[in-house]
């Protein structure tokens, strides 16, 4: 029998969540005060979970790396958040949002979870409006919507190009209200290094205080991880600098299974890399593809300025290959095609690793003012970074790592394979399958935090024996603390010759080359070996200056990179064992004659969840079969 029980309740898809909420055991309001919860992370998922549980009466301890919960990576989301309000009256419904999300994920997610997500999405919009989130409005005063990420309906709510910021500030304000009420204790500038499991239940964490360097232990009755995604394994990504995999990875090493590690989203429209000192990549909103035309010169190694290349010598390759979707093909298709052009020597710009996104025709058609009205902010941002004006010369863009669909495996309650450890937001694997649709991550993070975990955590407390006599004096805390201490001492004592940054860059290059936009068995096997030897190089030759006292930014990075060096290997292993192409995972060996992704539904309609068996030992691959009772599996086609 599989070790993975999804705990999906029985009943009709549409009724499962309502019925389950009714069936769950409750904790009465007075007793909620007796339960303590640790929430690691204050992004959309963590902040919404912390505030809502505190409102219900639980005592919450909240942790984040930044100096304030308001600065979590969620703040950077631009485009918007989906919901099936159907305000535009264009035929949207909970069912359609559910269906689009399942199909967009290339049928590699769990029906019941996705349906619930679509159901509660509408409540999120109401909640945020009540909090004072200034969503865009029409002249009549009603909420505005736009279409986004290939959806055929307008269901995306937005606050200018700063939707993530406004949603996070809403959740943060609710959190701070509970901080003032004494229901949330806030621990900023803390980085979790270890999960503490006692009697088989997740009970606490070890964190490093980034300011003092001290190691601290915290105890509770349950632990919630909302620590975000692991895109920074690739070094360069659109994630914030501190985004990391450590929380999830350390939980994995304590027994939480890690699912679908290879499902990574590579976003097609980012500003290309400019040089070796580049620290991160900047996303240019996908909406640009509504008006911009993607092209490369037909000739290889053409060094002429773009405006000197005549129409007849340009290849508008997306329009050519996909006449019906053209420049609006989904993210994975657009990304892969850009790579094909660059690999064939037709890339542009000083590095040759970019393609053009050209607005000349749109400006000719609609006028510069109209285009400025639509994309003015983005054009300015582009110009600030590249010193080139997209009004006069085509933008240069290239795909970049953006989001990780994989994450810790969770059941319908959002609980991992460690009892008491719940995982929310990008850190879990749940709702996006092999590919996430635009504007759905914000929706998922807030659904998990505002509307799912506040219910399921109560059910966990009410249905399990939790020994409340335990404190941080328990030996498990001493062991965990010592573990972290040994790790840090090891890093500081290596005194090798390579900086953490330089090894992280090497890892990033390996990941991009071997576990990037397209993968194949030979190259993945080679990648695994190379990652292993880079890990050895790190262990023997990393240079982490300073001490474990006080602020030590190099030590912070070293901890994160040592975890990236391990998760990178798992990503490759997961990719190697998934012998099909689906969503963001493209295996060269599995493609149609027209070079499109070829799924293998017979053998791979499942979640792969990896089980840790010890350092430098091969992990075990467990499988959760996905049953589709309500949708029919179809092949995506964009020609």
């Amino acid at each position: 029998m599989s070790k993975l029980d999804s705990k999906v309740p029985s009943g009709k898809l549409q009724d499962k969540w309502e019925q389950y909420k009714f069936d769950m055991k409750l904790i009465n309001p007075a007793n909620k005060r007796k339960f303590n919860v640790i929430v690691v992370g204050t992004g959309l998922a963590g902040a919404s979970a912390a505030s809502t549980m505190a409102e219900l009466g639980y005592n919450v301890q909240s942790f984040c790396i930044q100096d304030s919960p308001r600065r979590a990576h969620s703040i950077a989301a631009q485009g918007g958040i989906n919901a099936a309000k159907n305000y535009p009256n264009d035929g949207d419904s909970v069912w359609r949002l559910f269906y689009d999300t399942i199909k967009g994920g290339d049928y590699r997610s769990r029906e019941a979870n996705v349906y619930r997500l679509a159901q509660v999405a509408n409540n999120i919009i109401d909640q945020c409006v009540a909090q004072g989130v200034p969503f865009a409005r029409e002249y009549g005063g009603y909420l505005a919507n736009r279409s986004f990420g290939g959806a055929q309906v307008s269901r995306t709510f937005y606050a200018r190009g700063q939707t993530g910021q406004q949603l996070l500030l809403g959740a943060y304000s609710s959190m701070m209200r509970m901080v003032a009420a004494g229901k949330i204790k806030l621990y900023t500038r803390r980085e979790m290094t270890e999960l503490v499991v006692i009697n088989g239940q997740a009970r606490g964490i070890v964190v490093r205080n980034i300011l003092t360097g001290e190691l601290e232990t915290y105890h509770a009755d349950a632990v919630i991880l909302a620590t975000g995604g692991y895109g920074n394994t690739y070094y360069l990504s659109t994630n914030a600098m501190a985004s990391n995999s450590s929380g999830a990875w350390q939980a994995y090493k304590k027994g939480a299974m890690f699912a679908n590690a290879c499902f990574t989203q590579i976003h097609p429209t980012c500003i290309p890399v400019h040089g070796d000192n580049q620290s991160k990549l900047t996303l240019m909103s996908e909406s640009l593809r509504n008006d911009g035309r993607v092209w490369v010169p037909k000739k290889q190694g053409d060094t002429r300025k773009p405006n000197d290349i005549p129409e007849s010598e340009r290849d508008y390759y997306l329009e050519r290959i996909y006449p019906s979707f053209g420049n609006l093909v989904p993210r994975d298709v657009a990304s892969r095609n850009a790579k094909t052009q660059v690999d064939a020597g037709r890339g542009v710009g000083s590095t040759g690793v970019a393609v053009y996104l050209d607005f000349a025709d749109a400006i000719k058609r609609d006028g510069e003012d109209t285009i400025r009205g639509r994309y003015g902010n983005l054009f300015e941002m582009y110009q600030r970074i590249t010193d080139e004006s997209p009004y006069n010369t085509p933008m240069r863009i290239y795909p970049a790592v953006h989001y990780t669909m994989g994450g810790l495996w969770v059941d319908y309650n959002l609980m991992s394979t460690i009892p008491g450890l719940h995982v929310l937001g990008e850190a879990n694997f749940s709702d996006h399958g092999a590919n996430r649709l635009g504007a759905s991550a914000l929706m998922q993070g807030l659904a998990d935090g505002y509307f799912v975990i506040p219910y399921t955590i109560g059910n966990y407390f009410a249905s399990n024996m939790i020994d409340q006599s335990i404190t941080t004096d328990h030996p498990a805390y001493k062991d965990a603390l010592q573990n972290t201490k040994n790790r840090l001492t090891g890093l500081l004592n290596t005194k090798g010759s390579q900086s953490v940054e330089s090894i992280h860059k090497k890892l990033g290059k390996l990941m991009w080359e071997h576990v990037g936009m397209s993968r194949n068995a030979a190259s993945l096997e080679e990648g695994i070996k190379k990652i292993q030897s880079l890990r050895e190089e790190f262990q023997q030759d990393v240079n982490v200056p300073g001490s474990d006292k006080g602020v030590n930014t190099e030590l912070e990075k070293a901890i994160r990179v040592s975890d990236f060096l391990e998760i990178g290997e798992l990503m490759a292993r997961d990719a190697l064992t998934r012998n099909e192409s689906c969503g963001g995972h493209f295996r060269d060996e599995y493609q149609t004659e027209e070079n499109e992704a070829k799924r293998d539904d017979e053998n791979f309609t499942h979640v792969a969840a990896w089980e840790y068996t010890g350092d430098n030992k091969e992990p075990v691959r467990n499988v959760e079969n996905l049953e589709f009772e309500n949708v029919k599996l179809t092949t995506r086609s964009y020609k």
């Binding site: 109401d126 909640q127 945020c128 004072g132 005063g141 901080v179 040089g275 010193d387 602020v551």
Partner: protein, 252 residues
Amino acid sequence: MSTATMTLKLKIWRQADNTSKGSMKEYDLPGVSPDMSFLEMLDLLNENLVNSGNDPVAFDHDCREGICGMCSLMINGEAHGPQKLTTTCQLHMRSFKDGDTVVIEPFRAKAFPVHKDLMVDRSAFDEIIAAGGFISMNAGNAPDGNAIPIGKETADLAMDAAACIGCGACVASCENASAMLFTSAKLSQLALLPQGKAEAAERAQKMVKKMDELGFGNCTNAAECEASCPKGIELSNIARMNREFFKSSLSK
């Protein structure tokens, strides 16, 4: 894209921790490309420092996209440097010339003590928000999002105010270290929206009181805050806050 690199003379505030005395230290940094961001320039310096066995310069940063509000820095005496409406992380080295001297200091204010080097403690801002920068509602209570129409103009004004990233440049650039621009931006956003009106008076009282308690100074209308704000938060928010505050004082 330009390929020629520059050499800069950096003068940087170094301070071991919040109890030590700090001082300015000088560094020569060759190999700076005009396409680097200001923080990538500091990364380069730090990489050199680490490789030569020295302590890298501590500075705050995260998104590097001008939205998280984590980066700071007084650059040649200006909060977030010379470019208007631009955070330090979005400032690029093409704003400087080969041979330039660049003076880099932390955001200074009584309410922003230095942790290390260029890293400061801005948690006072969180305390101001905790004092009242929210609408008192619990998840699950909300009516339909369209139940209360909000005119587009009002929504846009609220969004203008809500764009504040909480960086603290307004405080650092103010001779009185006043937090009026920051506080007024939040108060304005919530007072403009119908959802926030019920508590507007009480909110203004509480947030202003907290601001004073935390050691932020008074506003004397020097307008340095507005000039340094990377998000274009306008002084008119302070006027709106003062109105809310006096209204609420009168009703007390």
